[in-house]
Every structure is written in structure tokens, then in C-alpha cells.
């Protein structure tokens, strides 16, 4: 019998379980990557539904006195579109990316609370299902901010308004739970060496967003509960007929609603801050300034809500105060934009689709930011508030801002999630359709707003001269929709036929590119030690150094072998 071999030093391997792939494994999963993909897939469905609603509305408005959609259905579409895009697309899509990427980026094996993570996904889905169930009876029609008294029991008696309330509750709960999970994960599970100054900027964006959610969600939760009791239990928070105040609803809603804008856009800022340096082949310009302005924006945003209410009966002094505080937020935002542009300065720029979307974001978001400063000046707001100018402004911020960032993130991280590249040519085509379509759709709406067209009207008179602009806007909407469909087609095609990506197709900076694409269940075989804000740079240098050393060793070994062979041969000959 052979004696037992002494244990050799080796890279210890874990027990690898075969990944289950049947459908039950998807609905019972607590793996952060699978939950992330579930989020992203669900959000894509809601995005398409919301997009169809948008295209329907634009079709109705294409010509004056159109009868494609009647007033009742139009108001329902307005409400469903806004609510879907905000609560069922932009906010959860960031939860999806955060779920997938944050543990990978900070070098962790999962979120801090994996089962809580699954709970927040299923709460979000049930919110969406409850809301869309109302389509079969009577969808809500009081607008996405459901101003009272229009949304109370007298003026919106149907159950549609209640499904809206449940949607806010369920998705809100999902967001709050997810946010707590994110904060704990980032605070406690970073890889060794990853101090706060080495946290990727996307994680800064997500962390700040999570804290904002924890601050803002309870307020809207309280507000919709009050609305629910007003509607069904004869309380009187918002009804002026028994001493309530409709303005109270506006205050509560916008106290949540304005931070919500930053909840939607801050992760987008994070994506841009990750994408630009990778494709400019240089570090981000002013890491600390960008991180500081991210948290600065978030915390300033809790004291600007009344700029959504400039036309309400509010004392002038108060308007002045909210104008100044709103303008102040432009400072950190401006700092970010300039830092991003400076990141490209003296780079060596590689033109890939994620960079296209990031640059599109920069151009369009700057326009949206500038119109935002104009709106903060309340005498200007008096004129354009509630008009198509506002519609244009917030679509510049949320579509050109948040959705462009989502597109950049999709093209950037799709290879990591699936192991396959998205098609570059289809991606660039999709970008140009979206960019041009967006500008045509929403650029022209500024002028519609200035010429007096209010938002949320289902039709308009021919003699108002709004026909041409609206037609242009509708054509733009179809171009934009084509662009989005091209990306959807790209995703579907690349899932099967995309080029294999390998672990690090972009030669990027952050830890998620260390592991395989898609990553194994346990994310990393080894957790690396982080030495800077771009850990992959050192790891690549080190691997290059190691492989050079290995080459040298091999060469030496070959040399030694050949020497040995010669020696042996000559020895044989001698023998």
C-alpha cells in the first residue's frame, strides 16, 4: 500500500454545485444575479407597455380633433404611462442593475440579505400585476400624481384609483427593503482594501439613491394611506368640504416626488461615471468631486419640493425661497457635467455603443438641466408650468437622462450578464434612431408649451395652430420607438447569436470584469485585494507580470530539458 501523500499547497476549491436551470429555480432563487435579471426582464416588459401607451397618446395628438382615443381612455393612458415608467420601469430597473452589479463591483458573493432581496422583487412584481389588473375593469385616470380632490372617492369612484394606491405601497415597500439591503451590503461587504475612496462611482450613485429611497418612501406611503382612508373610511385629510386641504397632498406628494427624480437619475450618473473613463482609457476626472456632488445633490433635494407648486396659492416669500434652493442644486449637477466632459479631455477614445449613449446623455441632459434652471425661476414657471414645456423638460431629464443611462448600462454590462456581446452595428443604429427620435419628439414640445398648449389634453382645436408641431412630435415618437425596438431585437438576437464576450471585453476598471461572463453562482473564485479605484488595472498588470514570469520559467525549463536531452544523448553515445 502506498503511504498517504502529504497535503500539497494548492488553491483550495469550493464544492461546486451544478447550477439548476429549470423554471422553479428561477422563482425560488435568492442569487443576486438571477434576481437582477428577473428585475431587468420584468422592467423591459413594463417599459414596452409604457412605450406602447406613449405611442398611442402621440398618435391621438398627431392631428387636431382626432377621435382615435376618447377623453376617458386618454386620461387613463396618461396615468398608466406616467405611473408605469416611473414606478415600474426607471426605479426598479436601477434596482435590477444594482442587484446584479453591486456585489460584483465591491467583490462580494451576494447581497447582505439574499432572501429579503427575493422578497423585494416579488413585492415589486405583485405591485405591477395589481396595477395592470385594473385594465380589465377601470384603470385609474387622475394622473400619476393623483391630485386630490380629483383622486378622492367623489371624483374617482372606481377601484382603479385604489390599484394605484396599492401599486405605490407594494413597489414602495419593495424599494425600501431593497434600499436597506443595498446600504448594508455596501457598508459591510466590500472587498479587503476597498476604502470609501475606492468605491466605484456607480456604487456611490446606488448607495445615495438607496438612502434617498429610505428617506422618501415613508412619506409617500403615509400620503397614499391617508388617501385610501379618505376614499373608504370617511377621514378628511384632503377634502376641503370637511376641513381637509388639497394642498397637503401636493406637499406630501412632492416631498417624495422631487427626491424621486434624483432616485431615478443618480444611478444614471453612476453609469456615466463608469462608462466614460473606460472608453476614454483614462481615470475619471475628479473622482471625489463627482462622489461629493452625488451625495450633495441627494441631500439638497429634500428641500426643494415646492417648485412643483409655484402656481398654487403660496406666499411670494416662500416662492423666492424655493426658487433659490432649487437653483442651488444646479451647482453640483453642473460640476458633474463639466467633470465628465473633462474626463474625455486628452483621452484615447474608443467609440463603442455604450459611449454613444453616454455622450447622448451628456448633450441631452445638459439641455434638460438648463431648462430646469429656467423653471426654477418662478415667474417663468408661472407661464410654462403644466404646459408641454414641462413635458419636454422632464422627458429630457428622464428619457434622455435616465433611459439613455439605462441603454448605456445595458450595452456595457450585457456581455457580463450573458457572456455574449450585443451587436455593435445594431446598437449604433439604435442609438441614432433614439437620439434623433428623441430630439424631434421632445425638442419641438418646448415650442408647443410656449405657444400655450397645456399637458394632459386629449385633443386640441384646429384653430390653435398646434397641428404641425404635434405632427412632428408624433413622427419623432415613432422614430424613437423604432430605436428602442432595435435594441430589443438586438438583445433577443444576441442572447443566442452574440459573439462570445470573455471575462473582460472592454478592458474595464472595476472588479466585476475579473470573474467569468456570466459569473459563477459564488461570483469570484478568489476575492482580490483592492489597491485603487480601478482595481482591474493592477490586476491586469499583475497577471501580465505573472504570465511573463511563467513564460520565462517555461523557457528556462525548455532550455534545461534540451540541455538535459543533449547531455543524455551524448552520454548514451559515450556508452
Amino acid at each position: 500500500m502506498a503511504t498517504r501523500a502529504a497535503p500539497l499547497p494548492q488553491i483550495a476549491s469550493h464544492r461546486v454545485e451544478r447550477e439548476r436551470r429549470d423554471w422553479t429555480s428561477w422563482i425560488t432563487t435568492t442569487d443576486h444575479k438571477r434576481i437582477g435579471i428577473l428585475y431587468l426582464a420584468t422592467c423591459m416588459v413594463f417599459f414596452l407597455i409604457g412605450g406602447v401607451e406613449a405611442v398611442l397618446m402621440r398618435s391621438q395628438l398627431a392631428v387636431p380633433n382626432n377621435t382615435l382615443i376618447n377623453a376617458e381612455h386618454y386620461n387613463q393612458l396618461v396615468t398608466m404611462h406616467g405611473t408605469t415608467m416611473i414606478f415600474l420601469f426607471v426605479v426598479p430597473v436601477w434596482a435590477g442593475f444594482a442587484n446584479y452589479l453591486v456585489p460584483l463591483m465591491i467583490g462580494a458573493r451576494d447581497m447582505a440579505f439574499p432572501r429579503l432581496n427575493a422578497l423585494s422583487y416579488w413585492l415589486f412584481v405583485s405591485g405591477g400585476v395589481v396595477f395592470y389588473a385594473s385594465v380589465f375593469w377601470s384603470p385609474p385616470d387622475a394622473g400619476w400624481f393623483s391630485y386630490t380632490p380629483l383622486s378622492n372617492g367623489t371624483y374617482s369612484p372606481t377601484a382603479g384609483q385604489d390599484t394605484w394606491i396599492y401599486l405605490i405601497h407594494l413597489t414602495g415597500l419593495a424599494s425600501a427593503i431593497g434600499a436597506i439591503n443595498i446600504v448594508v451590503t455596501i457598508a459591510t461587504m466590500r472587498a479587503p482594501g476597498m476604502g470609501w475612496g475606492r468605491l466605484p462611482l456607480f456604487c456611490w450613485g446606488i448607495l445615495t439613491q438607496a438612502i434617498m429611497l429610505i428617506v422618501a418612501i415613508p412619506v409617500i406611503g403615509a400620503a397614499v394611506t391617508m388617501l385610501l382612508t379618505d376614499r373608504h373610511f370617511h377621514t378628511c385629510y384632503f377634502d376641503p368640504r370637511c376641513g381637509g386641504s388639497p394642498l397637503l397632498w401636493q406637499h406630501l406628494f412632492w416631498f417624495f416626488g422631487h427626491p424621486e427624480v434624483y432616485i431615478m437619475i443618480l444611478p444614471g450618473f453612476g453609469v456615466i461615471s463608469e462608462v466614460l473613463p473606460v472608453f476614454a482609457r483614462k481615470p475619471i476626472f475628479g473622482y471625489k468631486a463627482i462622489a461629493a456632488s452625488t451625495v450633495g445633490i441627494a441631500f439638497l433635494s429634500v428641500l426643494v419640493w415646492a417648485h412643483h407648486m409655484f402656481t398654487a396659492p403660496i406666499p411670494l416669500v416662500v416662492l423666492a425661497f424655493f426658487m433659490l434652493s432649487s437653483m442651488a442644486i444646479a451647482v453640483p449637477t453642473g460640476v458633474k457635467v463639466i467633470n465628465w466632459v473633462a474626463t474625455l479631455w486628452r483621452g484615447s477614445i474608443i467609440f463603442k455603443t455604450p459611449l454613444y449613449f453616454a455622450c447622448g446623455f451628456l448633450v441631452l441632459f445638459t439641455l434638460g438641466g438648463l431648462s430646469g434652471v429656467m423653471l426654477a425661476i418662478f415667474p417663468i414657471d408661472w407661464q410654462v408650468h403644466g404646459s408641454y414645456f414641462i413635458v419636454a423638460h422632464f422627458h429630457f431629464v428622464l428619457v434622455a437622462g435616465a433611459v439613455s443611462a439605462v441603454m448605456a448600462a445595458l450595452y456595457y454590462w450585457f456581455p457580463k450578464m450573458t457572456g455574449r456581446m450585443l451587436s455593435e452595428s445594431l446598437g449604433k443604429l439604435s442609438f441614432w434612431f433614439q437620439f434623433v427620435g428623441f430630439l424631434v419628439t421632445f425638442g419641438i414640445q418646448h415650442s408647443l408649451g410656449l405657444s400655450g398648449m397645456p399637458r394632459r389634453v386629449y385633443t386640441y382645436n384646429a384653430h390653435m395652430d398646434w397641428g404641425t408641431d404635434n405632427l412632428i412630435s408624433t413622427v419623432g415618437a415613432f422614430i424613437l420607438a423604432t430605436g428602442v425596438l432595435l435594441t430589443v431585437a438586438n438583445v433577443v438576437r444576441s442572447l443566442k447569436h452574440g459573439v462570445a464576450a470573455g471575462p473582460d471585453p472592454w478592458r474595464a476598471n472595476t472588479l466585476e470584469w475579473l470573474t467569468t461572463s456570466p459569473p459563477p453562482v459564488h461570483d469570484f473564485d478568489v476575492i482580490p485585494k483592492v489597491l485603487s479605484v480601478e482595481p482591474m488595472q493592477e490586476i491586469r498588470a499583475q497577471i501580465a507580470g505573472q504570465s511573463r514570469a511563467v513564460d520565462r520559467q517555461r523557457a528556462e525549463a525548455r532550455h534545461a530539458r534540451s540541455v538535459a536531452a543533449i547531455v543524455a544523448r551524448s552520454a548514451r553515445r559515450d556508452a
Binding site: 488553491i11 483550495a12 476549491s13 469550493h14 479587503p192 482594501g193 476604502g195 470609501w196 475612496g197 475606492r198 471625489k288 462622489a291 461629493a292 456632488s293 451625495v295 450633495g296 441631500f299 439638497l300 428641500l303 406666499p315 416669500v317 416662500v318 423666492a320 425661497f321 433659490l324 434652493s325 442651488a328 453640483p332 459564488h522 469570484f524 473564485d525 478568489v526 476575492i527 482580490p528 485585494k529 489597491l531 493592477e538 490586476i539 499583475q542
Partner: protein, 294 residues
């Protein structure tokens, strides 16, 4: 909109000997510290001097300028502005003026010993309970002195008024000590709770200024029935008081938040760097540790 008879103009400065004495005394003490610091390091610290000097100027503006006279008898908004200057802006600047390395290298050894973590006072300052106590005092002075009865009573009685101002200044100094963390020896720790305390302090003062901004009735009888200056009605005066207070706190919050955040990042970076230098004995940077060892 004519100026009501008697409302003070720009020139109405007073010369309260107690205030001037206190300002001169602290300026002299600061100059001593600064000279010692400059001698030791051979460098100039203009930022520190500007902050401290600015803080003293703000105290003087609050207590000696026409603001004081207006606050006493005419305008609620002037009085609230005076409180913000005393409780928030002056302390913030003063504490910024003594941020590291001023105390560590500038204080005479005897005082340093008192402040050291081993001395009783130094331990007290670094106690875990210190921050909640500072926040509690901040809340007590902010809310307590805003109660209409207390507010009007203080405005009418000079001694109570002086106590009010001292307590506001004191609680402000304590709060900003927690937020700025100027004590010698603690500069390496990145205490993220500092941001939390800053946020909490703003939430506390927002509970004073937001109601003043929104409420549609006057709350302070002294100013509601008193003489009107500059044609400002009592309710508008109250709205201005609330809005000005909110706005100042808001800007202070924004700037302080970013500054403290950057300071924390720098401290965290330094701590990581020092820890890495200490463990430089292990040359393999990306230590390949086995998975199940975690």
C-alpha cells in the same frame, strides 16, 4: 413704503463692552495659538485665520450691528436671522478656524494635556455620548427658544436675552465640534456618523423654520402687535423669518455636507494607505486566499 419712525438705519451700531471684550480676548488667544503653530511648521494657514476671523465678525454683526436693534423691537425676521448667525454660522466658522493641525500644534502644552484623550476633559469630549448630548442641546436651544412665550420674554428682558444668545452660541459650538471634529489626535478616524449628526441637526432646525414659512397666522405676539419697520406686514415678516432661516440653514447644510464628506474621504484614504503601508511585509498585493477561508 416709507420707513417707520425710529426703525434703525445702517449706521446704528452699538458698542457693547462685554461683546467687544470677549471678541478681543478670543482673538488674542487665537493669535497666540497661531503664532506657535506657524513657528513649528514654518507654513501659513490663511484658511484657518480667515475662518476664525470670519466667525468673530459674524458674532459682532449679530450683536453690535443694527440687526440687534431691529431684532429687539421691530422685526421677527431680524431676530431669527440673528439666531441663525449666532447659533449656526459663527460657530461653524469658529470651529473651522481651529481644525487640525491648529489645536495639536498651536495650543500650549498645559492646555493640550487637558484636551488629551487621557485627561478627564479630553475623555469627556471624545465620549460616545458627546455627540447625542450636543445634538440634544442643539434641539433644546433651537426648539426651546422658538416657543413664542420664551422668545418674546427673552426679547423683552436684556439679561434673559444675553443668556439666550450665549446658549445658542454654546450649543452651536458643541454641535459643530462634533461635525468638524477638530480635536488633536482624532484626525485619522473617518467617523461617518458626523454626516448623520449634520443631517439630524438640519432636520431639527427645519422643524422650526418650515412651520414659520408655511403657517398663515402670526405666532409671536410681540412682533405681531409691535411697530412695523420698512412697511413689512407681520405675517410677511414671519414668512421672511422662516424662509430666510431655512435658506441659510440649507446653504450651510449644502456646503458643510460636501466639505465634511470630502474630509471623510480624505481621512478614510489616509487610514487605508497607512494600513497598507503597515502590512507591506506581504508583497503579494492581490493575496490569493482560498474561498472557504472567508
Amino acid at each position: 413704503m416709507s420707513i417707520a419712525a425710529g426703525a434703525p438705519g445702517w449706521g446704528a451700531w452699538s458698542a457693547d463692552p462685554a461683546v467687544i471684550g470677549a471678541v478681543l480676548l478670543s482673538a488674542a488667544g487665537y493669535a497666540g495659538c497661531y503664532r506657535r503653530l506657524a513657528r513649528r511648521t514654518g507654513r501659513r494657514y490663511t484658511g484657518h485665520v480667515l475662518a476664525f476671523g470670519g466667525g468673530l465678525c459674524v458674532v459682532m454683526v449679530a450683536l453690535l450691528s443694527p440687526v440687534d436693534e431691529l431684532a429687539d423691537r421691530w422685526l421677527l425676521s431680524a431676530h431669527m436671522l440673528q439666531h441663525v448667525l449666532l447659533a449656526d454660522i459663527a460657530p461653524a466658522l469658529l470651529v473651522l478656524g481651529i481644525r487640525p493641525p491648529l489645536l495639536a500644534l498651536g495650543l500650549p502644552p498645559a492646555l493640550l494635556r487637558v484636551l488629551s484623550p487621557r485627561a478627564r476633559f479630553g475623555r469627556l469630549l471624545r465620549n460616545r455620548l458627546m455627540a447625542p448630548i450636543a445634538l440634544g442641546l442643539w434641539a433644546a436651544t433651537q426648539w426651546g427658544w422658538s416657543i413664542p412665550t420664551a422668545f418674546d420674554f427673552a426679547a423683552a428682558h436684556p439679561l434673559v436675552h444675553a443668556i439666550e444668545h450665549l446658549s445658542l452660541l454654546g450649543s452651536g459650538l458643541l454641535l459643530w465640534t462634533v461635525v468638524v471634529d477638530p480635536l488633536p489626535g482624532s484626525s485619522r478616524r473617518a467617523l461617518w456618523s458626523r454626516l448623520g449628526y449634520l443631517g439630524a441637526s438640519r432636520a431639527i432646525s427645519a422643524l422650526v423654520c418650515l412651520p414659520l414659512t408655511w403657517i398663515g397666522t402670526t405666532l409671536y405676539p410681540r412682533y405681531a402687535v409691535g411697530a412695523r419697520a420698512y412697511g413689512i406686514s407681520a405675517l410677511t415678516d414671519q414668512h421672511i423669518a422662516g424662509a430666510a432661516m431655512c435658506l441659510t440653514e440649507f446653504f450651510v447644510f449644502g456646503v458643510a455636507f460636501v466639505v465634511v464628506f470630502l474630509d471623510l474621504l480624505a481621512r478614510d484614504e489616509k487610514a487605508t494607505y497607512l494600513a497598507e503601508r503597515a502590512s507591506r511585509s506581504a508583497p503579494d498585493a492581490t493575496a490569493r486566499q482560498p474561498v472557504n477561508a472567508r
